[in-house]
Amino acid sequence: MEGKITHNRRRRLHLNIRQRTAAAILFSSVILAGLIISGLLIDADAIGIDLESKNRAPSPDHLFGTDWLGRDMLMRTLKGLTLSLSVGVLAALSSAIIALTLSLLSSWNKTMDNIVTWMIDLFLSVPHIVTLILISFAAGGGFKGVVIGLALTHWPSLARLLRAEVLQLKGAEYVGVSERLGKSKIWIARHHFLPHLIPHLVVGFILLFPHAILHEAAITFLGFGLSAETPAIGIILSESMRYLSTGHWWLAFFPGFSLLLMVIIFDVLGRNIQKLIDPFHGQRI
């Protein structure tokens, strides 16, 4: 037994940081891919009502137990995570695009930069959840409102980061040379700024997921958007509140724990990709 442990340790030491990073990326990608595929494969039958087996505690048959309508919680959780994931993709993608556009705009001139900074400050000056509620109300409630809200509100922190990067690049010598040579601002943005921003953008894109997913769960938990039948993690958890006092702990524990795991996996993925493609900023922490 002891020999095996030391053997394992020796093998782990053989992997250098780069290899370990790559392994972590591969591992988390596989889990996430598995999650999406299994979520997509679940059909309506699997989360259907089965009054024969309601309120079952977790067992080999129903790993996460069943709820008061006999719906299998594992299937509902997987379905909910897939939904969170797809909303997360949308939110992260649109936020990354907005952040990139704004940061490139801020390189235009001083006025533009002031406007962008002001917009970032404006969005950060209202608590995020209040903004989400406001947008959800403006869209007249429903899933659409939640998605629009999540898509439009996650860019400020990334935009701030990218803007700082652009500002630093603007002082670089080769940018000055390009300007003297009469290159247009668009040319400079495309050939000098964009390549530098891509690593930040990719990492920022992935690290936006945890935020977006947690906010999606929070806002659906508060009762905005989705109808009660939709298996979203937030809705599952807010439903479980009614059954807490009767001791149905599995209704709240497993869905929330799965969400936590998914968020952590995204975090690991983002941090490791950062280590791999952005060694200047990624190696710390």
């Binding site: 404006l122 000056s125 608590p127 209040v130 403006a138 007249g140 006092s245 709240a252």
Partner: protein, 328 residues
């Protein structure tokens, strides 16, 4: 800081706040008026069928809904400037009163959580930073990263299950016990109801301060003056007390002040889980129940709240840090 600089600073901040509030009010008013939800219908609710078209028009005229959105905004903004935020549809009393009452409850919750999480986070950050790379450091770091990924409301649910349902130590909800007049509720009873939501909020709030303090302390420990102090033989707590603490406490306090927005976000969720009657619960109800005046009022109020936090963070640096104070 001399007086003319100070006047300039204060004037600048007031100007910033005014422009911020103006922009936020225009944007949020625009958003609200975009909403397809009919304010008259949401006001009357189920009795809508009994309202004749004429009565409906009267209500619309009374609220000024027949005017253009710009006109509506101007009259609303005018009233707000005079201190009148309108009347809440859900609570049937003035928005300012509702916010005042609710915010007092939320403030107790948030202040308690803010102080506890600040202290615990700071201590954890110092512990991790002093022993960088050790098992304790890894444990604290892992704990903070896990916490940062934890949905606050789920943690609240777990606490509720564990402490209230399983152990039976705490009540399951509500800010005060049912069936007793508000004035008769004892302080002990209030604290008992405050405990779990405050605990949830503090546990969630620890991560940021701890990680930040850890990073700062590591930077300080790598500096020349610490190396010099170590060469003189200073170690452990003395070293931290003499050379570390002052340098890391300022950014930590400042960061903690700047986190008022997240604090409020956490309070919204915690109040929902523990049905604690605070401002967070009110904003959720306002959003779900289409209570436009209350929603707008809370948006403006929370903007002010976050601004105050950021201002305090800024002031802390300016007043206390001698390097920045002289630089002004």
């Amino acid at each position: 800081m001399n007086s003319s600089n100070m006047a300039k600073y204060i004037f600048g901040k007031i100007l910033k706040l005014a422009s911020l509030l103006a922009a936020i009010s225009i944007l949020s008013f625009l958003l609200v008026s975009l909403s397809p939800i009919d304010p008259v219908q949401s006001y009357i609710g189920a009795d809508m069928t009994r309202v004749s078209p004429e009565q409906r028009e009267n209500i619309e005229a009374y609220w000024g809904l027949d005017e253009s959105p710009v006109q509506q905004y101007l009259s609303w903004g005018n009233a707000v400037l005079q201190g009148d935020l309108g009347t809440s549809l859900l609570y049937r009393s003035s928005v300012a009163d509702v916010i005042g009452e609710r915010f007092t409850a939320s403030l107790a919750l948030m202040a308690l959580a803010w102080i506890i999480s600040g202290i615990i986070g700071f201590v954890l950050g110092i512990t991790a930073g002093m022993k960088e790379g050790s098992f304790v450091d890894k444990l604290i770091k892992g704990y903070c990263f896990t916490l940062a990924s934890t949905p606050a409301f789920w943690l609240g649910l777990l606490m509720l299950m564990f402490f209230s349902v399983w152990l039976g130590w705490f009540p399951i909800g509500l800010g005060s016990p049912a069936g007793i007049l508000e004035a008769d509720v004892s302080l002990a009873e209030r604290l008992r109801h405050l405990f779990l939501p405050a605990l949830t909020l503090s546990v969630v709030g620890v991560a940021n301060v701890a990680l930040h303090t850890r990073q700062k302390l590591i930077e300080v420990l790598e500096s020349e003056y610490v190396r010099f102090a170590m060469a003189k033989g200073e170690r452990g707590f003395t070293l931290l007390w003499r050379h570390g603490l002052r340098n890391i406490s300022l950014p930590a306090v400042s960061l903690h002040f700047a986190s008022f927005g997240e604090l409020f976000g956490g309070a919204v969720l915690a109040e929902q889980v523990f049905s604690y009657p605070g401002l967070g619960q009110a904003v959720v109800q306002a959003g779900l129940g289409s209570d436009v005046p209350l929603l707008l009022g809370i948006v403006l109020f929370t903007t002010l709240f976050v601004f105050t936090g950021n201002l305090l963070a800024d002031l802390f640096y300016k007043v206390i840090d001698p390097r920045i104070r002289r630089g002004m």
